[in-house]
Structure formats: C-alpha cells, structure tokens
Amino acid sequence: MSDRELILARIRAAVTSAPPNEIVRDYRTSAGPLDRAELIELFAERVADYRAVVHVTGEDEVAATIAAALAAQGLTRPLVPGGLPVEWVPEGAVADDPPLSDAELDAVGGVVTGCAVAIAETGTIVLDAGPGQGRRALTLLPDYHLCVVRAGQIVAGVPQGVAVLDPSRPLTWISGPSATSDIELNRVEGVHGPRTLEVVVVR
C-alpha cells in the first residue's frame, strides 16, 4: 500500500465516529458604518502603528509626495514595476525590464509600487503581483518600499479583503516593515525584508 492509500485509509477509519457539525459565520463581514474618509483615517492610523511612514494626499500631489519621500531617502534611481501609473513614476526610475537578477535587485536602494487592496482595520496592504506591483522579489530585496494606495482600494476588514483577492495569484500581505522580537522580546524593525515602509494614500 502506498503512503497515500495508507494515510487515507487511516483517516477513514479514524473519523467514522466524528459527529457532523455546522459552521456559523456570524462574525462581522460587512463594511460597517465607516465612510471613505473614516476608512482612510483608520487605515493611516493602523499603518502608522507599525512604525511605517504614512502620507495622505490628493491626486494632484502624489508625484510630489513620492519625489519628496525618495529624496529624503537619497534614492535617485528607484526601481518601478511594469504597469505603474505614469504619473507615479519618479524621475530616474529603473524598470524591471529585462528582469533584474537577484544580485541586481539587492543593489537597488528602493522600490515604488501600487497594491491590489488595503485593509483598514489591520493596516495591511496586499500585493498580487499585478500591474504596478511586479513579481514578489521586487518588494523584498530593496531596503526601502514605497507603496501607493488609492482610497478606493481600502476595505474595512480582513473578510472584505479576502473576498476581493484572487488566490490563484501569489499574494504578499504587508503590515508594516519587516520586524523581529526574537531577542528578549525587543521589537527591531527590519531584518530581512525592507527596513523602511512608506505608504502614500491617495484621497
């Protein structure tokens, strides 16, 4: 008997006496009473709680906000994924075309991306490797990640986020910069992922 058959046979024998049960989903799944302005406010507050930098700007100020943030980091040649809206592409941007090697990505100082969805209650941005986000390594190897979130992409909670995401795409849920608490429970931001996360919310 193969291990597959063996395991399945053991399972069949084990669960014969297990009673059927019912799953009740009476937890919160709707957006709740928050309007768009409140969602933006909650999202910004929760992202900031992770010690990430948050800006909330109007559509016409996005480019300037991105430029100022990159300048503050001293980043003159930031990486951008394909499909990033042209008005967000900063001066001196480097495209991942042809794809950079891992070593080249490691040498890049920072990256600017959009996202697929953002979750207010948990301060989370989710990337699905779609247009304006790029393959997963782009937001992993550079030490600085600037993510632009459109207000319309912000949902209230985790259930609303899960509902709009496509599981067939590789997803990266990001809540603040990389962190560890492995040494005497002291939180240190930045271990292997980007040590700085900056989020620009477009009203």
Partner: protein
Amino acid sequence: MTFLGMPAFPANAAAAVRDSQLRFNLRKATHTIREKRASVVAELPDWARLREAGKQIKDHTLRNLERYLLQMEEAVTAAGGHVHWAADAREANRIVTGLVRETGESDVVKVKSMATQEIGLNEALAEAGITAYETDLAELIVQLGDDWPSHILVPAIHRSRAEIREIFLEKMADWGRPAPEELTDDPRALAEAARRHLRERFLSTKVAISGANFMIAETGTLVVLESEGNGRMCLTLPKTLISVVGIEKLLPTWRDLEVFLQLLPRSSTGERMNPYTSTWTGATEGQEFHLVLLDNGRTRVLADEVGRQALRCIRCSACLNVCPVYERAGGHAYGSVYPGPIGAILTPQLRGMSSPLDASLPYASTLCGACYDVCPVAIDIPEVLVHLRGRAPHPRAERLGMRAAGWVFDRPERLARAERLAGRLRRFVPRRAPGPGPLSAWTETRDLPEIPAESFRDWWTRTDGGTR
C-alpha cells in the same frame, strides 16, 4: 536534535525553576506577549464568534479530511505543483532528501517549520550530506548554539542578548559570513548581523524548505505567516521550493482565511496583523514546487474522540504565554518541539506514552484552565489532559494508594473510621515528612494543615446537626 532518554517533566522543570536568568526571561516574555494579545483581542467585538467559527471550520475539516486532502492534491497538481504523501517521519525525510538530491544542490535554506523539526529533517539531510540553514532569527540562534527551541513563536526565548552575542561571535563564521568583531549586544546590532549573515545565503541558495500555516483545499493555496521576511526570501528566491505540511493544516475554502487571518496574528504575536503573509498556488513565478503531506501520528490523534481536538491547533502559542507552569518550567522541560499546554496534549498523542517523559506530560498542568480561555480554536486542553491521564501508565505505589482511597470513599462508614483514626494520630504528624514520597514533596516548602479532632460528619451526628 533528539529528545530520547530525557528525564521526566518534573525533574526537567525542577532544574529550570532553579535557573533565575531563565525564570526572568520567561516571565518577561510571556507577560509581555500576554498583555499584547489581550489588548488586540479586546479590540474585536466579534472575537467569540470568530473563535467559534474557527473551531467549527477545523472540526468540519477534520471530519471530512479525506475529501479535502484529495481536493488539495488535485488543485496543487493542476497548478503545476507536485504532491507527495508521507505516513511517517522516515518517509517524509526520504522524500525531501531525494528531492534535494535531484536538484544536485547540497545547501538548502529553511523557513521556520515545526513539522520539519518534529520529523528531524535537518539531521536526516545532514546524513545525506546536505546542509540545512535555518533563517528565522531565533532558529538561527538555536542552530548556531546547537540548542533546542523552547517556544513556538519565539524559539530562543531562553537566551539573553549577551548569550546571543557570544553565539554569533563564536559560531557565525562556521556557517558563512562571520559576525563583525565589534558586535554589541544591542538587539538592533544583533539583527543587523543576522541580516548580513543570511543575505548572501538567500541570494545563492537554490532550494528552500518551508512548512505552512494553512493549506486551502478549494484552491490548492499555501499560506505562510511571518515577521522577518526570511519566509518571503525562502518562498520567492530559490528555484525549488519544498513545503512539508501536516495534514491537519487544511482549510476547506479560500473564504475560511477571513477567520484564521484574524485569529492567528492576534493570538500569536499580539498584533493586528503580522508583518508578512505569503500565499501561493502551485508552481509560482517559474519555481518548481513540491508539497509533502505529513501524517506522522496525526491520524492516530484523529481517531481519539476526545484527543482529536488537539488537531485544531494553529500553533499560535497563546496557551504557552498564559500558562503558569510553562512560565516557570520553560520550553525545554517538555522534551518536544511542541512545548507548553498544547505540547502536553499533542506530544503524548503523537509519540505515545511509553517513555517516562511522554507519560509525565499530561501531568505537567494544574488544570487551571487559562490555556482554554485564550485558545483561538477553543481546544479544551484541561479536558484532553484529564483524558490522557486516564490512559497514562501509573506508578505502582500511586495506583495502590488511589485504589485504597477509592475503597475508603466507596462507603461513608469507612470514610468516618479513617477520619477518626487520623484525628487520633493528629499529634504524630511531623512538620516535615521524611522523603521521598508525596508527603515530603509537600512539606518541603509547605506546612500541613492541622488535622481536626473531630470530622464534620461526626460533629453533625454528635450534635444532631448543631442543634444539641
């Protein structure tokens, strides 16, 4: 790593209790996470409903495990992945070793995985000439220190920053890029040293091994939650990814994540969400992907009507952080990769209770119930502990004593006679009983209560219920 031949829990715990640095570290860590968890759980008005849904989803999955495993296999295969089945640790290690050999590589990077620790994968790979590099900061500390993990979430909780600095200075060079000579014990400097040490490793290693927090049967998706980004490195950069996952990690539908991505981070790190969660389905971005489905005793647990609830566990470690016994005994005393209250019910079920250590684990609890209260999937750990105690082998002297006590309690007249006898002998009870035995174990640190001259029932009879 081997736990074979380890003494039973009481002896391990007694040694830990005497280690004041360990006591201090454990107390600080468990109380810190405990409070963080309490505050983020209190934020959610529907926590109790999420907890109930989590419990029901897991029970439903276990009840229909065969169907969902087959669905998972089909979905992963359809998405270009390869699925392997391992009935036990040996088979799982054989499969993984073979897969790594096929790549021609002799180095693998690992993202923290309890399942691979449970099966002793690193040791099996080493025998085949393959070096496994742990990449989680705490696991790195444990690996460099040739040590054991002592907590599910923060495996190096027993190490102080000064010890970590020493380990890095002494051992990092043997495993790759050495630690800088001027390394201090500042956690930032230590984390930076780990970042630099591992960055080269991530960029050069072609094979990664992971576990998973969840598998989604409906879509064939795997889910890994982490904080540092080492998980993303392992899941993204290498050309070959091998995930070893216990069969109980399944969830039926994608939608079920809406429950567990709320329950797990808040219960585990005490955050609204952990820094990084990765999900992927089959072969992703040109990678080769293998999923190894692991039984290794899980189907035996599943067959136990009371004990099977332990398979709901999502490894959050909330039960460790509230357990007064764990806080004083530390993780190593449990002699297993699964320490604390959940370990006390999981280990004896997965391994059986033939060793003195495993037989002592169901007794490593006062049944205070704090673990059940915080468990995000409502595992009634005290219930399972009591159930396992009923099956544990008992020392002969205890068995005789318990039988005798049962005989006395069977008849009220026997109990009355025993009480009268104790009352007559009350003057002869020593302040400290000579050892060894249960009486001396008590009187070592505690006085015995004074035995009354007259029992309640004799008083009631003599005074006709206090009316005479």
